[in-house]
């Protein structure tokens, strides 16, 4: 299946707790991600999202099952660096993933680790900084940037490694609304224009609206999967597992309950307006 960049086959993952017990954080999960796809994963705190993403990047290795990244098995130690280069990761706290004291040097960190020629690194650094829109900050010190800017530095650092796929593990969670918008815009642009496969983990349902596919996790299992419309329709189930739906989906649900017959898979304000206009 050449058009799947990621294949998760029956993955289980156990953490060892301090008492020496095993804690199953992922339980028999299977998943495929196509090249160029934009997948959003939602699930409440502790449902196993981060554990899954660390498995995709070979930071953790499956207890059971297999993961293939571009055909490479994450258990294959020889392929470790290829896998990490193919599937990049951006984490939640922008402060804890920037290594160097100057923006451009941080972006260069990944390519330097790959042993790329200095001239080529320079080229990639400039391209990546431009691509996330922070080229003008290249000589700044990271700690003087805003959260959204720092997070874009982190993204540039990953892009400079030319990955085919990027996993964002709650990369917007610690940002204020404007920072979140900046970062979401960047993520979508990378997906649409540069054709980078995107897996975005988030607690903000609004960020899932534009996804190709939404996956809902609960207790280490995949409990729901489909387009945003298909998934958010399941409002009661989502609420039951401590999740939410976009405001407009909720409103359409409430209206339906009161006997106003409108579509129950509305996601945005504009759709709602259109739907109500038609009904009129």
């Amino acid at each position: 299946m050449a058009d799947n960049i990621i294949e998760v086959k029956n993955l289980s993952f156990d953490y060892e707790t301090e008492e020496g017990d095993k804690y199953r954080a992922i339980d028999g999960l299977s998943l495929e991600v196509k090249k160029g796809e934009f997948v959003v994963i939602i699930g409440h705190n502790g449902s196993g999202k981060s554990t899954l993403s660390k498995n995709l990047n070979a930071i953790l290795v499956p207890t059971e099952g297999d993961i293939l990244v571009n055909g490479m098995n994450t258990k294959d130690e020889d392929k470790l660096w290829d896998i990490r280069q193919t599937a990049g990761m951006v984490f939640q706290n922008p402060d804890n993933q920037i290594v160097a004291t100057i923006v451009e040097e941080d972006v260069a960190f990944g390519p330097e680790n790959l042993g790329i020629e200095p001239a080529e690194i320079r080229k990639r650094v400039e391209e990546s900084l431009k691509s996330v829109g922070i080229y003008e900050f290249k000589d700044r010190q990271p700690h003087l940037l805003s959260g959204g800017q720092k997070q874009r530095v982190a993204i540039a650092g990953i892009i400079a490694m030319k990955p085919n796929c990027i996993i964002f593990d709650e990369a917007t969670a610690m940002l204020d609304p404007s920072g979140r918008k900046e970062v979401m815009k960047t993520i979508k642009k990378l997906n649409r224009e540069d054709n980078i496969t995107t897996i975005h983990i988030t607690h903000f349902m609004e960020e899932a609206v534009d996804a190709d596919r939404v996956i809902v996790m609960e207790k280490g299992k995949k409990v729901l999967e489909g387009t945003p419309r298909e998934v958010f329709k399941e409002i009661e189930m989502l609420k039951n597992i401590g999740l939410d739906v976009p405001y407009m989906t909720e409103l359409s649900y409430m209206l339906n309950k009161e006997g106003i017959k409108i579509k129950d898979d509305i996601l945005t304000v504009d759709e709602m307006v259109e739907e109500l206009c038609q009904l009129q």
Partner: protein, 269 residues
């Protein structure tokens, strides 16, 4: 504000001394420090001062920054002068009971004070003209021959970089935790020393936990970016050793040769 603490004493300016490769500067400073210990006559200091003054002039650093560098040690300098004056035996100039000031004592007091001041100024020129980041690169390059004997030069440089990167972050964190605990009534300004030491716990335990958590996350981010130590690693910014560096090396060698030669000249005081 804690945030404003700057690491190092870098004075940014565009001067040939600033631009000079940090590794060369580091070695030159070391040579300079050794040279000062070789001086055994007053007039030789004249040469040292002249060289140092020329470098400072070329570096465009305002004089007050140089003087600021001496200030923290002024009491030590003064104290040592007094001890020298009174405790060196020799021809007595002035005596009050057991306390005697001797000619040799005065000579020694001035000689040592000049030496100390020159040492301070010499090292200040390095830290004023070289940013901590450049200094880190310089140290890595100067030490790199030690890699052959298995000394972890790259790891050490990486540690310095990460430490520099996290100093502002941890200061910020300290500030936040301190404020949060003060809101819960903690008193970090207590007059009682024991109390004050105990109050460190509500501040430092969270700070440590935070440092540990950050270390976990950062090292994972580094794993994800394929960091695997110094082997096969390239650098975007390679050191350029050009004409200014060769000139600096030449000057250093000539200077050192002169100082060594003058040590064995038997004229002057």
């Amino acid at each position: 504000m804690l945030k404003d603490i700057t690491v190092g004493q870098f004075y940014p300016a565009n001067s040939p001394v600033h631009r000079l490769d940090a590794g060369i500067k580091l070695i030159a400073t070391f040579v300079f420090m050794v040279s000062i210990f070789l001086v055994n006559r007053f007039y030789v200091y004249g040469i040292v001062v002249a060289v140092l003054a020329a470098i400072i002039a070329a570096s465009k650093i305002p004089g007050k920054y140089i003087i600021k560098g001496i200030k923290p040690l002024r009491w030590i300098i003064l104290f040592t002068m007094i001890i020298n004056m009174f405790f060196i035996p020799g021809e007595v100039l002035w005596a009050l009971g057991p306390a005697k000031i001797t000619v040799e004592g005065i000579r020694q007091a001035f000689f040592m004070s000049i030496r100390l001041i020159l040492l301070i100024v010499g090292t200040s020129v390095l830290t004023l003209t070289t940013s901590p980041i450049a200094l880190t690169d310089g140290i890595e390059r100067v030490l790199s021959p030690l890699k052959k004997v298995g000394f972890p030069v790259h790891e050490l440089a990486m540690m310095m970089t990460i430490a520099l990167r996290f100093i502002p972050t941890l200061l910020d964190e300290t500030d936040k935790i301190m404020k949060a605990q003060m809101s819960r009534g903690a008193d970090f300004e207590s007059k009682n020393i024991m109390n004050r030491a105990k109050n460190l716990v509500p501040l430092l335990v969270p700070l440590f936990i935070s440092a540990f958590r950050r270390a976990d996350e950062l090292s994972m981010a580094m794993d994800a970016r394929c960091y695997r130590g110094g082997d096969n690693r390239t650098k975007m910014k390679e050191a350029v050793i050009g004409k200014p560096e060769y000139t600096a090396v030449f000057i250093t060698i000539v200077y050192m040769a002169a100082i060594i030669a003058l040590r064995f000249v038997k004229v002057g005081i």
